[in-house]
Symmetry: C2
Subunit: 352 residues, 2 copies
């Protein structure tokens, strides 16, 4: 093709000539011109500065500062096929999860962890079918490099669709059905064991449980409770709540008191449930912790604000977030990465 002698090309481009002084910030060419180098060199500085002489580097950096240059992410994405953004997908039919204090912590620390890598977080809600498709189209469309999936209900149909696709995804909590999506979670089962053991050590004989097996981690917590109590975990001592809400906790406590008025301890699968139980116990005239000890799970903000303050199991949510981000970035870079389980910790306060 190239015959060597390009006959004095008429320069059909004439880049960045009269366009100057238009709106929308400076381009890479403006910086290059000011620094007295070429586009390529500026681009090199932008992407790691390998093979750039110290002099050029300094000139470019100065020019960038002078012009207030910021890279045009669209132009970059167009060629690199990376968006430097990930979706934080909150998959919750009842919109309940949004009011879960755990969620806020997760969202905050994921945002921070991503910001450290100059990746932005795009929040997507998915509470009904239409939105599921929207999310799927969006994610599949290459708008984001990966997905952080926060799903309360473990058997989520979005998960299956995402797992099938080639978009890197990390779930928070173990998805049901071993679908092959890497996840990061606290050691729910061991945490539940810690709490149950503690209640036993405190001399409690009749330990009830307010569980929520259909919510992520809920089944494991129930198992942990059973691990410790064995045959002492009578069926009537376990009640199910429909979700992790205060109201559900109160309602479950009411049922528990009705079927087992002789209990001297309750382990609730979340702090919200425990708070609801607390309210109900007070209403029933039972003293906490004297008559009934109450244990929660999560160590969310409300654990410190109930009266009495909750003895609970701390989930290292900041750590979970950082690990989720870490795993996701590895997947995006096509490096191998596996699921991770993080340790929990007993936090003793007043309620037990």
């Amino acid at each position: 093709m190239s015959d060597g002698t390009t006959p004095d090309a008429p320069h059909p481009k004439s880049r960045g000539a009269a366009r100057r002084a238009m709106r929308r910030g400076p381009t890479i060419d403006d910086v290059a011109e000011l620094a007295g180098v070429s586009r390529g060199t500026v681009s090199r500085v932008l992407n790691g500065a390998r093979y750039v002489s110290p002099a050029s580097l300094k000139a470019v950096e100065r020019a960038m500062r002078q012009t207030g240059y910021t890279v045009n992410q669209s132009a970059r994405s167009l060629v690199t096929k990376r968006s430097d953004a990930v979706a934080f997908v909150l998959s919750e039919p009842q919109e309940r999860l949004f009011e879960d204090p755990n969620f806020s912590v997760l969202l905050r620390s994921c945002t921070q962890a991503l910001a450290a890598h100059d990746i932005s977080l795009i929040l997507m809600l998915e509470s009904d079918e239409d939105e599921r498709d929207r999310v799927l189209r969006y994610v599949r469309g290459g708008h984001v490099d990966g997905v952080l999936l926060i799903s309360a209900h473990s058997g989520d149909s979005l998960i299956a669709s995402l797992a099938r696709g080639d978009v890197p995804t990390v779930a928070c909590g173990k998805p049901a059905g071993d679908i092959g999506i890497p996840y990061v979670a606290a050691e729910d089962r061991e945490g539940a064991r810690q709490m149950t053991r503690y209640l036993v050590e405190q001399g409690r004989k009749r330990i009830g449980m307010i569980g929520c097996p259909q919510i992520a981690g809920g089944a494991e917590r129930l198992e942990g409770y059973r691990d410790v109590l064995g045959r002492r975990a009578l069926r009537r001592l376990v009640v199910d709540a429909p979700n992790y809400s205060h109201a559900a906790g109160a309602e479950a406590m009411r049922r528990l008191l009705a079927t087992s008025p002789d209990i001297d301890a309750v382990f609730a699968a979340s702090d919200s449930l425990a708070a609801g139980a607390l309210t109900e116990l007070r209403r029933a005239g039972r003293g906490v912790p004297d008559d009934v000890a109450v244990g929660g799970f999560d160590d969310s903000r409300i654990a410190q604000e109930t009266d009495p303050a909750l003895t609970t199991i701390r989930q290292p949510l900041e750590l979970v977030s950082r690990n989720m981000v870490d795993v996701l970035l590895r997947l995006i870079r096509r490096e191998p990465s596996a699921s991770r389980l993080l340790p929990t910790e007993l936090v003793v306060r007043e309620s037990a």
Copy 2:
């Protein structure tokens, strides 16, 4: 430059020839080819379908479905200079606001309102100086079309910088210093009047207030309280909290009880503060509402979960969100739009 007679150009483009079967979804050219029309026509369909024949429209839509086409947002943004994304900037030095239940509601409903317009929400946190610059660079860099600014502390330096720039911005709550940024807020002052009036009507004589003037809306709530009580709003009846937290509420209540043991009502500037006050009142052995009536503000989730449940002032946060989005979209389209104030409502529960 152009002499008119381009000498039989050798077609240097040869679009979409061998590249086929690469990864990354179909392009507009693939759709065009399959539909038997040109790029232009497909593009027209994508953007409103004006001047497209019914036949072409149908063919294109079929082809889009068959190929599973999604537009490449980067390519589009590169030429349109729109990103179809807005930043939700949470400006809070203490990271406290993130745990405010109001915030979750705001975030959720803004996300939904934006999704209805196919605009995505990018969450940005700004808790220190470094992050302020990051946010500013990001926003200025044209990564987003506009900013929803949620700032607890009204005198935020980010606000000033944003106001100076040309990036459409809407604040939640009135920023201090009338800096010219449009905002959407509840009628804090009138809401506070409603609550204070209600307490008076209930026969309360010594009505204290736990205020927080340095937080957005806080000053107005204090004014509303004073509007109604006039000279009965003794200085010793008003205590300041450093922020809207449970702990701050408890601490403020302690001070209030110390200086004014004779009070028979307290109006707290937020539900969290009220919840803290409730805890402290119980500790002090005062019955609520019999000895002391407690009024909150916000009608956030916790108002229903305290014991007794809080009588409070409802802020229409979903409405606030929708209005913020509406105003922002108008600004982005360069249509005129002004700040908006939304009405509040008294919600009577058990605490007063």
